[in-house]
């Protein structure tokens, strides 16, 4: 084999050039993008021809439909297996547990805020809360026209627990100052807050129904009240007690006297909740009779029963409310 000198070998350079001439000139970036979006030569849109696109669309349509159908079938089958009236898991077996929390109305509009804030001399700002409360209480208004809903409502008493299938009535008209006609006391800077105990399916409270073994951290006024009630009528002791007080010493001074309406708690005859038709949560109206204005008051309300545990951080058995009247 002879090795040629190719110092300035023109023929090889020419052949070299020829070799590279056969290749297409490289496309610029924008040309490439254009060619990708619509290639007139191959009639491709985004790298695929029309038939290719339709095929792939058809495939994914079928595939995703099949997937959706599988999900739907599984879901439907499963939901059929569930009882529509009662939860699959109840009380201890459910994550909801046996420790109801407290809720309050009216709820503030801001996210993650529990401040009820209004101006005492501005009807507009009061109106907001009043409206919220009336919407909330609308469900409690007994309306004779509403058939079905009112049918199984029963006027309960401590001596008169509801018969099977009936639910107890919550009479909102008898709450003294905390009625809509009175603007729930908001126009007088003596606002009412409504407390409700969380509904837990099948939960029965264990009442503090004697004045003997009341917990140490129970406020004195509640203890006093229970003692009074013991003297008055033992039936009235079957109650999930409620206490509200300022969180800090300053708040306790600012909050002023508090009135609980209609009872100082949730009467026992409302329990247990079993998803009855027309069941209404019992309410306690907390009437702040002389709250200090122009100051933020931290209020903590607690529900008291033997089987309600309390933990402030997790808001177990309690609720945190802030009130600011300007």
């Amino acid at each position: 084999m002879t090795v040629k000198k190719r110092t300035s070998d023109l023929t090889s350079l020419e052949r070299f050039n020829m070799y590279y001439r056969e290749k297409e000139p490289p496309l610029t970036g924008s040309q490439k993008v254009k060619r990708f979006i619509w290639n007139p030569k191959t009639r491709q849109f985004c790298g695929r021809t029309g038939s290719s696109w339709s095929k792939i669309a058809l495939f994914y349509f079928i595939f995703y439909s099949a997937l959706a159908i599988l999900v739907a079938i599984c879901m439907w089958t499963f939901l059929q297996l569930l009882d529509a009236r009662q939860p699959k898991w109840q009380l201890e077996r459910s994550i909801i547990g046996t420790n109801p929390g407290l809720g309050f109305r009216p709820t503030p509009p801001e996210v993650a805020s529990s401040v009820i804030w209004y101006k005492g001399n501005d009807p507009g700002s009061q109106q907001f809360w009043v409206k919220k409360l009336s919407t909330f209480l609308a469900a409690y208004k007994r309306d004779g026209k509403k058939a079905g809903a009112g049918q199984n409502i029963h006027n309960c008493d401590f001596k008169l627990p509801p018969p099977a299938g009936k639910v107890c009535d919550v009479d909102i008209s008898a709450w003294g100052p905390c009625v809509q006609d009175n603007y729930f006391g908001y126009h007088k800077s003596t606002p009412c807050i409504f407390l409700k105990l969380n509904k837990i399916y099948g939960w029965r409270p264990k009442f503090y129904n004697s004045s003997d073994n009341l917990p140490k951290d129970m406020p004195e006024d509640l203890k006093e009240h229970i003692r009074n009630m013991t003297a008055y009528d033992k039936n009235y002791l079957n109650m999930v007690w409620v206490s509200c007080q300022g969180e800090n010493p300053a708040d306790r001074e600012n909050i002023g006297p508090i009135q609980y309406l209609p009872h100082r708690g949730f009467p026992g005859y409302y329990f247990p909740y079993t998803n009855q038709e027309g069941y209404l949560s019992p309410l306690v109206a907390v009437h702040l009779q002389r709250p200090k204005t122009g100051m933020l008051i931290n209020i903590e309300c607690r529900a008291w029963a033997n089987n309600i545990k309390y933990e402030r951080l997790e808001a177990m058995g309690s609720v945190h409310i802030e009130m600011l009247i300007e």
């Binding site: 090795v3 997937l67 939860p87 994550i95 929390g101 993650a112 529990s114 969380n198 609720v319």
Partner: protein
């Protein structure tokens, strides 16, 4: 860069020890690199010696003055090799923690900590979730960073090994006094040094005076043949110039006095070392792929996160919420497990290769070997044994292969030839049985050892006189006394044309005849034939002197020759060559079958190179193209490119170290993945630059081993074939691993979208995502590396356009299997919610209330009211169910990803590591769910046993769907539609 001419003056300036103030050290380093890449251009070996002495200001007898030497030393620095600027390990660690996904994870961690700080300042009792998450993300970053650090950090000791080649002391003449203890580092240009046999040349020197001075240039040329150096006319290429001896080469014989031409980094060795140490090896194909994939993923994650953040802020989500789902999107989009998986898989393969006597120093190299398209192999020591052997014997009119010579044992000519060989060979047998001497002399003696006993011959023929070989007469002769008949014999060995001309007769089997012109022609032809097959041919002749003229007490004088050296009897020819290693031929055939091109790049002669190339199968036809270094120097890079394109079989001969590098770079610029095999110092730059540098463990020099990515511990070239096979297999299996990892990405991203679009409580938390990515997915992903090859990987051509992560894989991972996992997860999530009273319809749109801490009485579909803490616990339970659904479906995916093509039923569950991995996945998921501390930390929940089974219908569907898909792919059904869609 400023245009710097590569004249000696500027190079010298460039390598001065004092930092050039105008250049930053990085610029300086790259300027030096560019200078080193050029061929040496100098005329110091061409000019007459006197002119040179004038230039250098030295005197051939007295040497430099001490004062001048000191001055020069201070100006130019020590005669050592300057190490390249190296990044410290801290910097490399820092870099590996801030590349690819890491930056995004840092962003995520930062966002977490910001969120925590905001919460801490706003709330009295901040939850530690964000703090934990931030810390976990930082930990993830550090772990991934350590994995890539492990893969990236190679402490470069190249310069150290080079420096160890340099002697400590030299014999140097200064002020007319010879000092044999001059430290080599103190030598400067113009010093006069003396080198004796056994010494290592202390700098590049030009010979002034010498006697039988032979140096072994193997450190520069790779050929361990001693070459003669003397004060003769130089040739233009300094590397081949016969009047220059180079730094670090060893003097084998004789002595010489020389003047130092250049020192340290400017010497030929210094350039090689400088190149090897300063070159940045190209990113491996795998690293390139991962890099581009990571870039795409990160960009996508950032864009998605940014877009969603903007959108949600516009919609009116609070800032904290936005931060949370930006973190979610980022963490979900990033396959955190990728880097650890790749590193672990490669490490496993590397360990496997160690068992096959193949040390993988650079993990990426093993995969790169699978992708390799071109192998540039050195010849000497790599393809050949680097040991001269007698290969052919020619006695009158017949060429015998060395293995078939036994039949000629009784041939008289052969006997004479053995006697002549034994007496002419200057190699000696030491007491320990080792043979020492020049390579070809050793070869002759080795050959004779097998057929006769040269020692007995030497005893029976005591040597009385010897004319040593020199470049002028090209022969070596000795006179011995035949003890049997007390006659003197003249024995001669040398280049065939010289010997034949001195012969009058020729030995035939039948007796001696006179050597006719025709017979001379035959001898010449035989010589040419042997020479053409790359052998070094030596001719042997003898002459028995008659006792009358040369009685037993005759005094032979070798200075004034008083005995005849012509009218000899021609005995025969020996063809010597460095034979190829046994396994090489077969290995090269297999490599070529696998679509890899093999080229030879050698410093040896073209004829030898071609002969070996033909023998080992690098060249199979006459089309084999041979390019010598000189031709290469005249080629423009375009012509070289064109040549590489045009000819498939190419042999590069007589190449310099820089040219080897040039060839590698030319191949790489064509898009080739280049493997370089080499054993010498001269291969170091090419080894370094190549995608895969392969060095020989036994014969290889320290430098080459230090530079290489892979070291073949037993020098077995065939290991490269295994390497290619393993490399291709690991690529296939890495695809499976990556696909496996990517599949779980879809069910991680989509929950966040559901959260935003449908306002349902978050179906999968960020912590749980990390649990999947870096927990449960890890072992199965790595264990897919243990899958056996699905088809014969060596039948394929090297992957060139095949991507690790292709659109098809993304379609398969995100569009098909991932969505099914997502469906399974959402199903589990909805069921857990429904069992607790939140029916799917009730969940949609509930998010705002659900996540509102102030709402303590959220009503579900059955009228129960949930406090914030209760529903958050429920959310955790539902998320845990989602997590478990991912785990269950990912276990199915482990089985699905085992194969890309074959059916699961063909392959079976033979991969024990994967089986263990699946069990591990299950156990880990259980631990994460049921160990109290862990479940709190990772936001999981001890879920009910029945919820584990929710994903099973989906797992079955996935399996069936994928088996169907593979069936279609195997049978190329629907015109190969599925193949195009999702055969990754």
């Amino acid at each position: 860069m400023t245009s710097r001419s590569s004249s000696i003056a500027s190079i010298t300036d460039l390598f001065r020890p004092e930092k050039n103030k105008r250049l930053r050290s990085k610029d300086l380093s790259s300027t030096r690199l560019n200078v080193l890449k050029k061929e040496i251009k100098t005329d110091t070996h061409l000019v007459p010696l006197d002119t040179l002495f004038d230039q250098l200001g030295t005197d051939p007898v007295k040497g430099l003055t001490r004062y001048k030497a000191q001055e020069l030393l201070e100006y130019y620095g020590y005669n050592t090799l300057t190490p390249a600027t190296q990044y410290g390990w801290t910097l490399v660690l820092f870099k590996s923690m801030c590349t690819g996904f890491s930056i995004l994870i840092w962003i995520g961690a930062l966002l977490c900590l910001i969120a925590y700080l905001i919460e801490m300042t706003n709330k009295i009792n901040p939850s530690y979730d964000n703090l934990y998450l931030g810390c976990v993300l930082i930990a993830v970053d550090v772990i991934c960073g350590l994995f890539s650090f492990y893969q990236n950090y190679k402490s470069s000791k190249i310069m150290k090994t080079f420096n160890s080649m340099i002697p400590v002391y030299a014999n140097c003449v200064r002020d007319g006094v010879m000092d044999s203890e001059t430290p080599v580092r103190n030598l400067v240009r113009g010093d006069i040094v003396e080198v004796k046999a056994g010494d290592i040349v202390p700098a590049d020197i030009r010979i002034i005076e010498s006697k039988g001075f032979k140096v072994d240039n193997s450190s520069l040329t790779g050929e361990s043949i001693a070459v003669l150096r003397a004060n003769v006319e130089g040739t233009s290429n300094i590397l081949e110039s016969p009047n220059v001896a180079f730094f670090s080469t060893q003097c084998v014989e004789g002595w010489a006095l020389g003047v130092v031409l250049c020192c340290g980094d400017l010497t030929a060795l210094g350039r090689v070392a400088g190149l090897a140490a300063r070159l940045k090896p190209a990113l491996s194909p795998l690293a390139r792929e991962l890099k581009s994939f990571m870039r795409c993923m990160s960009l996508w994650a950032l864009c998605l996160g940014f877009f969603l953040a903007i959108a949600s802020l516009i919609i009116g989500y609070p800032f904290m919420q936005t931060i949370i789902f930006v973190i979610g999107i980022i963490v979900a989009n990033i396959p955190e497990g990728l880097q650890p998986t790749v590193t672990a898989s490669l490490t496993l393969t590397a360990q496997l290769m160690v068992k096959k006597q193949c040390l993988v120093k650079n993990l990426d190299a093993i995969e790169a070997l699978g992708a390799c398209t071109t192998i540039c192999s050195d010849k000497t020591g790599t393809l050949t044994q680097n040991k001269m052997c007698v290969h052919h014997i020619w006695m009158w009119n017949q060429t015998y292969n060395v293995s078939k010579i036994d039949s000629e044992k009784n041939n008289k000519v052969f006997q004479s030839l053995t006697i002549c060989g034994a007496l002419c060979s200057t190699a000696s047998i030491q007491s320990d049985g080792n043979i020492s001497g020049d390579a070809s002399e050793k070869a002759i003696l080795n050959f004779l050892m097998e057929h006769d006993n040269p020692m007995t011959i030497r005893d029976n023929f005591p040597k009385v006189a010897e004319i040593p070989f020199n470049s002028a007469n090209k022969y070596q002769a000795s006179v011995c006394l035949n003890k049997y008949d007390s006659k003197f014999v003249v024995l001669m060995k040398g280049a065939p044309e010289y010997i034949a001309n001195r012969c009058a007769t020729i030995a035939l089997k039948t007796g001696n005849t006179s050597l006719t012109t025709e017979m001379m022609k035959v001898v010449e032809l035989a010589t040419e034939k042997l020479a053409n097959s790359g052998e070094r041919v030596l001719a042997f002749a003898d002459l028995t002197l008659n006792t009358k003229e040369f009685p037993i007490d005759f005094e032979f004088d070798i200075d004034n020759i008083n005995f005849p050296l012509d009218k000899l009897r021609f005995l025969g020819l020996l063809g010597l060559m460095d034979p190829p290693r046994q396994e090489v031929g077969n290995a090269i055939r297999r490599v070529r079958e696998a679509g890899v091109r093999v080229m030879m790049v050698t410093g040896d002669h073209p004829a030898t190179a071609r002969a070996i190339a033909h023998e080992v199968g690098i060249a199979t036809s006459e089309n084999c193209y041979i390019i010598t270094g000189t031709e290469l120097r005249d080629m423009s890079s375009d012509v070289l490119n064109w040549t590489l394109e045009k000819y498939y079989e190419i042999v590069f001969a007589r190449t310099s170290p820089t040219q080897k590098l040039q060839i590698v770079e030319a191949c790489q610029s064509r898009g080739d993945v280049v493997a370089v095999t080499g054993d010498g110092v001269n291969d170091a730059p090419a080894l370094r630059k190549a995608d895969i540098g392969i060095s020989m463990g036994l014969t290889g020099s320290q430098v080459s081993k230090q530079t290489a990515d892979i070291v073949l511990m037993d020098d077995n070239f065939a290991t490269i074939v295994t390497g290619i096979e393993e490399g291709r297999k690991i690529f296939d299996n890495l695809k499976k691993s990556v696909c496996y990892i990517l599949i779980s990405n879809a069910p991680e991203i989509l929950p966040v979208l559901m959260f935003i679009l449908f306002s349902i409580p978050l179906p999968l938390g960020v912590m749980t995502i990390i649990c999947v990515d870096l927990g449960t997915d890890m072992w199965p992903a790595v264990s897919l590396a243990y899958e056996s090859a699905e088809s014969d990987v060596m039948d394929r051509v090297p992957r060139k356009s095949e991507r690790l992560v292709s659109a098809r894989m993304l379609r398969q991972a995100y569009g098909h299997l991932g969505l099914m996992e997502f469906a399974a997860g959402m199903y589990a999530y909805f069921i857990v919610m429904a069992e607790h009273g939140f029916y799917p319809a009730a969940l949609i749109g509930i998010r705002k209330k659900w996540d509102n801490v102030a709402i303590n009485d959220l009503e579900d579909s059955l009228g129960q009211e949930w406090t914030y803490a209760e529903r958050k616990e429920l959310e955790r339970a539902a998320q845990a169910a989602y997590f478990v659904a991912i785990v269950v479906t990912q276990m199915t995916n482990g089985i699905i990803c085992k194969t890309r093509f074959n059916s699961f039923f063909q392959v079976g569950m033979k991969n024990r590591i994967l089986n263990m991995g699946l069990v591990f996945e299950l156990i880990l998921a259980c631990l994460l769910c049921y160990i109290p501390g862990l479940s709190n930390f990772f936001q999981t929940y001890p879920i009910r046993v029945r919820w584990w089974f929710l994903a099973i219908p989906f797992a079955v569907l996935m399996f069936v769907f994928d088996e169907f898909r593979k069936y279609c792919i195997r049978n190329v059904m629907y015109n190969g539609w599925f193949n195009n869609l999702s055969y990754y």
